[in-house]
């Protein structure tokens, strides 16, 4: 438990501005809402601009492997901004989770080319696991035959629709290996999702040829690490979601009048917003701590991830729910963007493990065992 730096550097502030400007220019609530009606035209150009023009896809990849050599801290700043705009891009699934899997592959091996492609923003990958899988959860592997053909399926996979390559955990006698499969060779069935800004899909392989990128059991460690890093950094996205909800609600309530008074001037509303502010600021500190601990490989990283996941997941949902409620009727309409944040917040709460699951994990990490079962 070292004294991690929780402030933002100037470089991070600049990064934030460029992401914010780009997303503001290329994505707006109405086009994001159109995703729910099946119009996904906003996704590709936005992702190309973020991955390619801004070069953010390779943030986590070391320079010698073609990336920007940044750390989890910078990635967290990007995720804050993407959360604040519910941006429908596969940054989290490809540039965080899938990339972390691949970074475990030995340099000079089969993964190099793919990593370089990811770093350049030319390729997009997804890890074929349910989005709800959290750190420490059992990872069901696909089956592989002697010819390297993969069979199996996974439900509610995030990022698969945007990916051109799928990273498939494969169960072998030696443990879990990771194979790659061209997305075009897989059945990727879009699912009507709670959060259409991160639409999930069901992925099925039926004897599809795959290439082993990481052997067993190292592949299992790589996947576990990716879930750990993913869980840590998703909290920054949740903080971004929560912040948007809080600031948008405050702005609305400073303007909205009922009974001749600004609604934000009613004390019960003020006190709720004060409590929400305290929660959101705390979520920011927790997310920042988890990112810093992850970046520095701190011994405290696992604990801080479980803490931040438990806290930020619920704060994002709370902030989105309060946004809907305190906007009154307008917050219940399709036209107002609040619902986009509510759906993202609720899906994020389930993603990478529920808060209760993270607390159960925390209990082991900090030696607070569950009571012995009765009887």
């Amino acid at each position: 438990m070292s004294d991690l730096d929780l402030l933002y550097t100037d470089v991070e502030d600049d990064l934030r501005s460029s992401v914010r400007d780009l997303v503001a220019a290329r994505s707006e609530p109405a086009t994001v809402a159109a995703l729910y009606d099946g119009d996904r035209s906003v996704v590709d150009p936005l992702w190309r601009a973020i991955a390619g023009d801004l070069g953010l896809a390779g943030l986590l990849i070391p320079e010698e492997r073609g990336g920007a050599g940044a750390s989890a801290r910078e990635v967290a700043v990007v995720l804050e901004e993407l959360g604040r705009s519910v941006a429908p891009v596969p940054f989290f699934t490809s540039s965080v989770v899938a990339t972390t899997v691949l970074l475990a592959a030995e340099q000079g091996g089969a993964a190099d080319e793919l990593l370089a492609g990811l770093a350049a923003g030319e390729r997009t990958a997804a890890l074929v696991l349910p989005l709800s899988t959290g750190p420490g959860d059992e990872v069901p592997g696909f089956a592989v035959d002697a010819d390297g053909r993969l069979t199996g399926s996974a439900r509610s996979v995030a990022g698969a629709l945007e990916a051109d390559v799928l990273l498939v955990p494969v169960g072998t006698a030696a443990g879990t290996a990771v194979y790659s499969v061209p997305a075009a060779d897989a059945q990727v069935e879009p699912v009507v999702s709670l959060d259409m800004t991160r639409q999930v899909a069901d992925v099925t392989l039926e004897g599809t040829a795959g290439q082993e990128l990481i052997g067993a059991p190292q592949g299992g460690d790589a996947v576990a690490r990716a879930l750990e890093v993913g869980a840590a950094l998703l909290t920054s996205e949740q903080y971004g979601v929560a912040q948007w909800c809080l600031t948008t609600t405050i702005a609305y309530l400073k303007d909205r009048r009922q009974f001749g008074r600004v609604v934000g001037g009613y004390q019960a509303i003020k006190h709720r917003l004060a409590d929400l502010y305290a929660a959101v600021e705390s979520a920011g500190a927790a997310a920042r701590y988890a990112a810093a601990a992850t970046a520095e490989g701190d011994a405290d990283a696992e604990v801080s991830t479980a803490v931040a996941q438990s806290f930020c997941s619920d704060v994002a949902v709370k902030a989105a729910e309060e946004a809907v409620q305190l906007h009154g009727g307008i917050g219940m309409t399709w036209e107002h963007p609040a619902h986009l944040y509510l759906k993202r917040a609720k899906a994020d709460q389930i993603a990478l493990g529920t808060p209760a699951a993270h607390r159960a994990r925390l209990a082991e990490l900090v030696d607070l065992p569950a009571p012995a079962p009765v009887g």
């Binding site: 709800s132 209760a356 699951a357 607390r359």
Partner: protein
Amino acid sequence: MTTTDARTVGEDLRQRVADFLAEHDHTTMDRLEFLRARFDAGLAWVNFPEGHGGLGLPRALQGQVDAQFAAAGAPDNNPRGNGIGLGMAAPTILAFGTEEQKKKFLRPLWTGERVWCQLFSEPGAGSDLAAVSTRAVREGGDWVVNGQKVWTSSAHKAQMAILVARTNPEVPKHAGLSYFLCNMDAPGVDVRPLRQITGEAEFNEVFLTDVHIPDSQRLGDEGQGWKVATATLNNERVAIGGGAGGRESGMVGVLAKSWREHPERRGVGQHDKLLRLWVDNEVARMTGQRLRQKLAAGEPGPEGSAMKLTFARIAQEASGMELELLGEDGLRAGDWTMKRPQHVDFTGRDAVYRYLRAKGNSIEGGTSEILRNVIAERVLGLPSEPRVDTGIAWKDLPR
């Protein structure tokens, strides 16, 4: 009325229904003619006066009449299809209408020939209903109405509406309103679906552009609109407070069923929360049971508003928890297609729908914030909020 009297009255009424059924064979008679005849016989709503579909009897006897007709297999007036008409428009028309208005509107309302909707809320007048800015200007024998209404359920199915509009902006806001009965097929009435966060459109926006309403369809005096509207809304509150299910009703029932039937969904650390919600739901059932007993004993309790708060909270927490328990399945929704639902089933459809729809429970029919004000002020006797709009002409209020 003593218990003995009540029993006699009930028996007389039972005989009267039996006589009616003997004289009117619903298996051969036109459905609408049958319903009209039932209305004319005073068996529509027995607590209404004679001549207006009733017999001036206690409201409590209505259940017996309905049950008797249902047992005979007679057609009903599809009350679910005209909730606002029956629950809100009818008692208001009865209380404030002229004899002519009652004659004209009550029978087709009850039979379902005319479905009603409610044009009250506006984008700028939600909780603060008295702030409506829809204007009605007198032109000869008509009122010409312009404005926008919102959150209107059934507007796309309705033939009639109860409408609150501002007839005088020069006086303080509560004093400048009037109440109208508006034909929904009148020129200038434009009904547009209002899509909700569930994807579907239960409600509508209604744009009113130079809509003409004859002065004969003004309900109550000019400027008396607030008083009439308040009566309407009190009827709404009675309707909302009334319903209450049995054990494991509502969203907690859905959650408990899911927990029992799917051991794999049982989340570590979520057992106690489930039980808390179960307890809260059961206590709400007990509270509702006591409320109904008090009402029946002639001791109306103020718990109705409090119960709506409780139901909304439980529904929201339980449906939110259900999604967490579902895990990977909680990430999957049913359908986002824009549709017009036939009816609203809070506990039906998929878990994502339930979660999102429940968010409306603390907004529609009085927000939880307004209900807390109501409890604090009317039940606990605490001071009302400082008002800054008292005595100021509506046109001069900041907006």
